[in-house]
């Protein structure tokens, strides 16, 4: 009898430990985050998605932006393979055509034409599941970066440009074009023999995208820069 009781206690303890471990794992999953971006009236913002979908499905502009922009707004989504834009128009009935997929680490424009604007500035919260080791692995790779590409740091964290593998592996003569949403113009930086012409500690912010123009080809791999979610 004593043995049976002991066995039951051990089994219960093991089950509790298992459940605790499972609970711990669950706690580290499905961390939801958001990034705030703004789009001026009559202007553009070059933004990105740093998140995954919560249910593993593909994300479209309806999922990412929804009705946060007024009717008449546009999203121009960079198609990395064919090197063209796929555009979406916000209609009264939603985004049209609404089928273009937005991928983490790839840039897209948000445009609010003056004729569509309902305010001088439109705030958009881009939301989703924070990439973690369970759903995405410890690293993220954006493969086959070549020619001109609208890219973004694939995690919801700020990063010093020269600390990215993309910058390190760039060739002399490659360009970085960064959109300034305030001045509605580009600042461009060249990789010279002496390094990048960016200012010291030039940072790519969460939600920000940029153009990378290269004469080479590389697979851009970054390690998840945060410890939680694991």
């Amino acid at each position: 009898m004593k043995r049976l009781v002991l066995a039951v206690i051990v089994a219960a303890a093991a089950l509790a430990l298992f459940c605790y471990a499972q609970t711990n794992q669950v706690l580290s999953r499905n961390a939801v985050g958001y990034v705030q971006v703004s789009v001026p009236s009559g202007g553009y913002a070059l933004v990105s998605l740093n998140f995954e979908s919560l249910d593993g499905s593909d994300l479209t502009i309806a999922d990412v932006v929804g009705d946060q922009l007024p009717v008449g707004s546009y999203a121009h989504i960079w198609d990395r393979n064919s090197k063209v834009y796929q555009s979406e128009l916000r209609t009264r009935g939603g985004w049209s055509p609404g089928t273009n997929v937005i991928t983490r680490g790839v840039g897209f424009w948000l445009e609010v034409p003056s004729s569509a604007a309902t305010a001088s500035e439109h705030i958009v919260y881009v939301m989703g599941e924070v990439p973690d080791s369970f759903n995405q692995g410890a690293t993220t790779t954006i493969s086959n970066v070549q020619g001109l590409d609208a890219l973004a740091y694939p995690f919801p964290s700020a990063v010093v440009w020269t600390n990215t593998a993309l910058a390190s592996n760039a060739l002399v003569g490659d360009y970085l074009h960064v959109w300034n949403v305030t001045s509605q113009s580009y600042n461009s930086y060249l990789k010279t023999r002496g390094g990048w012409t960016t200012p010291d500690n030039f940072t790519i912010e969460p939600g920000q995208s940029f153009w990378f123009e290269t004469s080479g080809t590389q697979d851009w791999t970054e390690i998840k820069p945060y410890t939680w979610p694991e």
């Binding site: 445009e111 001109l148 360009y175 074009h177 010279t192 002496g194």
Partner: protein, 196 residues
């Protein structure tokens, strides 16, 4: 019902952008320009063109006919260009400040109205060009109409890896006819002043 619009971008001179934006009807020449490798004097690729503290001028130039016309030393007000060339932007380089002896650099972007033509870069051996001094013309490239959301047209003075390019051009003595006309003009002015 309005249609969703599709736009395309031509890459690196291969992909041409076409877009139909209600909000941006203007045509822009938007150029990111710089030199990735730097410059040296002919026969001396082990040293750059500047010593510490020296200054020189880099220019982004527009040409209608795709010909880099020779430097006109008498046209300092116009940036020393001649023929149909027009200086779009100048960038002053000082070794030890915004470049090193090789004078590789990334200049602030140029943005202006677009018109059909070509662009090329020019860099002098110093900031006071004089007859007999050297300069370099970068490759001639077709100017592209780039308006947001397109990316800027990128322009690199240096076209390949290595130690950069040598300053292979020499600022010429103004041709005799031009010099004669200048002399004649001076005489006319003096004559008028005497009369007055």
């Amino acid at each position: 019902m309005r249609r969703a619009k599709n736009m395309s971008i031509r890459l690196l001179g291969v992909m041409a952008g076409s877009m139909f934006c209600a909000s941006t009807a203007l045509a822009y020449l938007m150029v990111a320009w710089g030199a990735s490798e730097g410059f040296y004097f002919p026969g001396d690729p082990s040293h750059g063109i500047l010593t510490n503290g020296e200054t020189t001028i880099a220019q982004l130039i527009f040409s209608v006919d795709a010909v880099a016309d020779p430097v006109d030393i008498n046209n300092s007000a116009g940036g020393y260009v001649s023929g149909d060339d027009v200086v779009l932007a100048e960038y002053t380089l000082t070794s030890g400040i915004n470049c090193d002896e090789w004078a590789y650099f990334g200049a602030p972007n140029y943005t202006g109205a677009y018109s059909a033509g070509y662009i090329f870069g020019r860099i002098f051996e110093d900031n006071t060009p004089a007859i007999g001094e050297r300069y370099f013309n970068g490759p001639m490239e077709t100017a592209e109409d780039r308006s947001p959301p397109q990316s800027p047209q990128s322009y690199d003075f240096n076209s390949g890896p290595g130690y950069g390019d040598d300053l292979d051009q020499v600022i010429p003595i103004p041709e005799p006819l031009t010099a004669a006309l200048y002399g004649l003009g001076t005489l006319v002015i003096l004559h008028r002043r005497r009369k007055a």
